[in-house]
C-alpha cells in the first residue's frame, strides 16, 4: 500500500529532516522563524489528533481538552508550586494521558463511537473550559501569565530559534511515533479497529483496551503541545487552551493533509500556517484564513477524502508510470489467475 519503497521512504524522512534543520538558518528573519515554529506546532498537535482520529478512526471534536490539560498542568506547577519549567514537559504529558484515559474509559465503556464520540469529546472540552474559567488555581477567566525570563533553565529561549528546535524535536518524535504505528502490531490493531470493529474483535483484539491506549498516547502528545504553547506565548486562558478553535485546527490540519498518514498533519500544518501568514499580511482580514480552510475541508471531504497526501501519491504514480504499470500488471495477473482457476 505504500507508494515508496523502503529506501525511498528513508530518503524522504532524511530529506525533510535536513530541510527542517537548516530552515531557520537559511531564513533567519523573525517572521520566517515564527512561521516555522507555528507550522511545526500545528504539525505536532495535528499528529496527536491524527493518531487517534486518523490511525485509530476515533474522530474527536474536542481534542483541545488534552491540550489544555497539559498547558494548565505545566503552568500551574510552575506558577503555583514554583517548580522548574522543565517539569512541565513530563507533567503535561501525564496530564494529557490521564485525561485521555478518563475520557477513553468513560466513552468506550458506554460504547460510543463515530459522531457520538466526536460530540462527547466536545462536551468534555467545554466542561473543562468552564471549570478552568471558574476556579482560582487556574486564574479563572483572567488566565495565567508566565513571566518572561528567557533562559534555557526556564524552558524559555532568548532567541526564537531555540523554540524552533524544541518544537522540531517534538515534531520529529511525533513523526517517529506515526512511522512506528505504521509498522507495529499496535498500529495494525488500531487500523483493524478503524476499518471494522467486529472483525477486529473476532480476531482476538481487545478493542476497548486498544482504544483507551491510543487515547492516552494521543492525549499525552496533545498535552505536551499545551506545555510548549504556554512556554512560547507565556499566557494561557480557558478560551485559548480549552476553546473550540484549537480542536478545529488539530482536526483540520490532519484531515486536509491526510488522516492516517505519517506526513498528513505536517502538510496540513504548513498550509495552515502559510495561508494564515499570507492572508494576515496581504489582507489584514481576521478570519479569512479559516474561511479558506473551512472551504478546503469541505472540498477535501467531497473530492479527496484521503487528504492532500493522496493527491501527492497519485501524482507520484502518474509521474512514475513504470512503477504504476508494474503494480497494476501484478494485481491484474493475480486476479486473472484466480478467475481462471
Amino acid at each position: 500500500m505504500n507508494a515508496l519503497s523502503r529506501g525511498q521512504s528513508w530518503l524522504l524522512h532524511g530529506g525533510l529532516l535536513l530541510v527542517a534543520l537548516v530552515f531557520p538558518l537559511v531564513f533567519p528573519s523573525s517572521f520566517m522563524v515564527n512561521f516555522g515554529v507555528l507550522a511545526l506546532f500545528y504539525a505536532f498537535i495535528g499528529q496527536s489528533w491524527n493518531i487517534a482520529g486518523g490511525f485509530a478512526g476515533q474522530l474527536s471534536f474536542g481534542h483541545v481538552v488534552f491540550f489544555g490539560a497539559g498547558a494548565y498542568a505545566s503552568t500551574i506547577l510552575q506558577m503555583q508550586y514554583g517548580l522548574n519549567a522543565w517539569w512541565g514537559l513530563p507533567a503535561s504529558a501525564v496530564a494529557g494521558a490521564v485525561v485521555g484515559w478518563v475520557i477513553g474509559v468513560l466513552s468506550f465503556r458506554a460504547g460510543l463511537k463515530g459522531s457520538y464520540f466526536a460530540l462527547i469529546t466536545l462536551a468534555f472540552a467545554e466542561t473543562m473550559r468552564i471549570l478552568a474559567n471558574s476556579v482560582e488555581i487556574t486564574g479563572g477567566g483572567m488566565g495565567m501569565l508566565i513571566p518572561a525570563k528567557p533562559s534555557v533553565d526556564n524552558l524559555q529561549f532568548a532567541e526564537r530559534i531555540g523554540f524552533y528546535y524544541l518544537i522540531l524535536a517534538l515534531t520529529v518524535a511525533s513523526i517517529a511515533i506515526a512511522v512506528w504505528l505504521k509498522h507495529s502490531r499496535f498500529g495494525a490493531q488500531l487500523a483493524a479497529i478503524r476499518e471494522n470493529e467486529d472483525s477486529a474483535r473476532a480476531l482476538g483484539i481487545n478493542i476497548f483496551a486498544e482504544k483507551v491506549k491510543v487515547m492516552m498516547l494521543s492525549g499525552a502528545m496533545a498535552g505536551l503541545g499545551g506545555c510548549f504553547f504556554a512556554q512560547y506565548f507565556l499566557y494561557i486562558d480557558p478560551s485559548i487552551v480549552f476553546g473550540v478553535d484549537k480542536s478545529v485546527e488539530m482536526l483540520l490540519v490532519s484531515m486536509i493533509g491526510g488522516a492516517g498518514t505519517v506526513y498528513g498533519p505536517l502538510v496540513g500544518a504548513v498550509l495552515l500556517a502559510g495561508i494564515g501568514d499570507v492572508t494576515r499580511t496581504l489582507f489584514d482580514a481576521q478570519g479569512l484564513s479559516l474561511v479558506l480552510y473551512g472551504t478546503l475541508l469541505v472540498v477535501i471531504i467531497a473530492f479527496l477524502p484521503n487528504g492532500l497526501i493522496d493527491l501527492f501519491k497519485r501524482l507520484w504514480f502518474w509521474r512514475n508510470p513504470t512503477t504504476a504499470a508494474a503494480k497494476v500488471k501484478a494485481t491484474k495477473a493475480g486476479v486473472e489467475s484466480k478467475e481462471g482457476a
Binding site: L119, F124, I130, S134, G141, A285, Q286, V291, Y293, I301
Partner: protein
C-alpha cells in the same frame, strides 16, 4: 433561599427554554429525517440573527415582524444548500457529513468574523424595557413574547408534521426511507424540504432571540452545545423530546447560574450532554438503538 428568587429562576429558565426548544426542533427534525447531525446549526442561527439585526438597524423592521421575512429566507437557504451540497453526501459515512457540516460551520463563522468583525451586537426596540410582573417576578416583555411565540411556532411545526401531506411524507421518510420511495414519495425532495424547515426554525428563533440576547460571530458556539444537549436529552428525532428537553435545559441553565454563579453555572449543559450519552443515549423519548 428566598422563594421569590427560586420563582424568578424558574420562570426565566422556562422562558429561555422555550426558545431553546425552537432551536433544537430544527436540529432534531434534520436528524430524524436525514440522519445528519447538522453541526452548522449554531453558526446558521448566528447568521440569521445578524440578518434580524440588520433588518432592524438598516430597514427598521421590528424583529418579531421579521419572522415573515426570515423564515422563508432561511427555508430557501436550507433547501438550496441541501440541493447544492449536503445532498451529495447524505448517503455516505456518518462522519463525513459531520465533517462537512463542521466545515460549513467554520466557513460561516469566519465569514461573519470577516464582515461583521468580532464585536457583540444587541438591539433595542421601544418595548425592550417594559416589564411584566408574574407573581413576584419581573420579566422583560420581549422574553415573554419570545416564549409565547416559540411555543406557538413549535405547535405550528407539530401541526405541519402531523396534519399536512408534506408532513406525512416527512414522517414516512423518517421512519422508512426505502418504503417511502416505493410508495412514490420523492425522498430527495423530502430531504431538501426537511433541511429547509430545519433552517427555517432557526430563522424564527433568531427573530425571537435578538430582542433578549446578543449576537457575535462566535455566538454559534454557545447555541450548538445547547441545541445538541436539548436534542440528545429529548431523544434524537423526537419532537416531544425537543420540547421537554428545551425546558429542562433552560431550567438547568437558570438554576445553575443561581447556585453556582455566572461562570460555573454554565457547566450544567455539557455535563447533562455527557451524562445522557454515557448512560441513556436514546434520551428521554428517543428510540432505543
Amino acid at each position: 433561599m428566598d422563594l421569590s428568587i427560586i420563582a424568578s429562576a424558574t420562570i426565566n429558565g422556562l422562558l429561555l427554554g422555550g426558545v431553546y426548544t425552537l432551536v433544537a426542533s430544527g436540529l432534531t427534525l434534520i436528524y430524524g429525517v436525514l440522519h445528519i447531525i447538522n453541526f452548522a446549526h449554531g453558526s446558521m442561527l448566528m447568521l440569521a440573527m445578524f440578518g434580524v439585526f440588520y433588518l432592524l438597524t438598516k430597514l427598521g423592521i421590528d424583529p418579531y415582524l421579521s419572522i415573515f421575512i426570515m423564515v422563508p429566507a432561511m427555508f430557501a437557504f436550507g433547501y438550496l444548500l441541501y440541493k447544492g451540497l449536503i445532498g451529495r453526501f447524505a448517503g455516505g459515512k456518518d462522519e463525513n457529513i459531520l465533517l462537512i457540516t463542521l466545515g460549513l460551520a467554520i466557513l460561516i463563522e469566519n465569514l461573519a468574523l470577516m464582515f461583521f468583525k468580532g464585536d457583540t451586537r444587541t438591539i433595542s426596540v421601544p418595548y425592550s424595557d417594559t416589564m411584566i410582573s408574574l407573581g413576584t417576578t419581573l420579566v422583560p416583555l420581549p422574553k415573554l413574547i419570545s416564549f409565547g411565540a416559540a411555543l406557538g411556532l413549535c405547535a405550528l411545526l407539530g401541526l405541519l408534521i402531523t396534519r399536512t401531506d408534506t408532513g406525512k411524507a416527512i414522517r414516512a421518510v423518517a421512519k422508512e426511507r426505502v418504503g417511502a420511495r416505493l410508495v412514490g414519495i420523492d425522498v430527495d425532495r423530502v430531504f431538501a424540504i426537511s433541511y429547509g424547515i430545519g433552517l427555517a426554525t432557526l430563522g424564527a428563533a433568531a427573530c425571537l432571540l435578538m430582542p433578549i440576547f446578543y449576537v457575535s460571530p462566535t455566538t454559534g458556539h454557545v447555541f450548538i452545545m445547547v441545541a445538541f444537549t436539548v436534542v440528545v436529552l429529548g431523544g434524537m428525532g423526537s419532537f416531544l423530546g425537543a420540547v421537554v428537553g428545551g425546558l429542562i435545559v433552560g431550567l438547568t441553565e437558570s438554576f445553575g447560574g443561581l447556585f453556582l454563579g455566572e461562570s460555573l453555572g454554565q457547566i450544567g449543559i455539557p455535563v447533562i450532554f455527557i451524562l445522557i450519552l454515557l448512560f441513556r443515549p436514546q434520551g428521554l423519548f428517543g428510540a432505543k438503538q
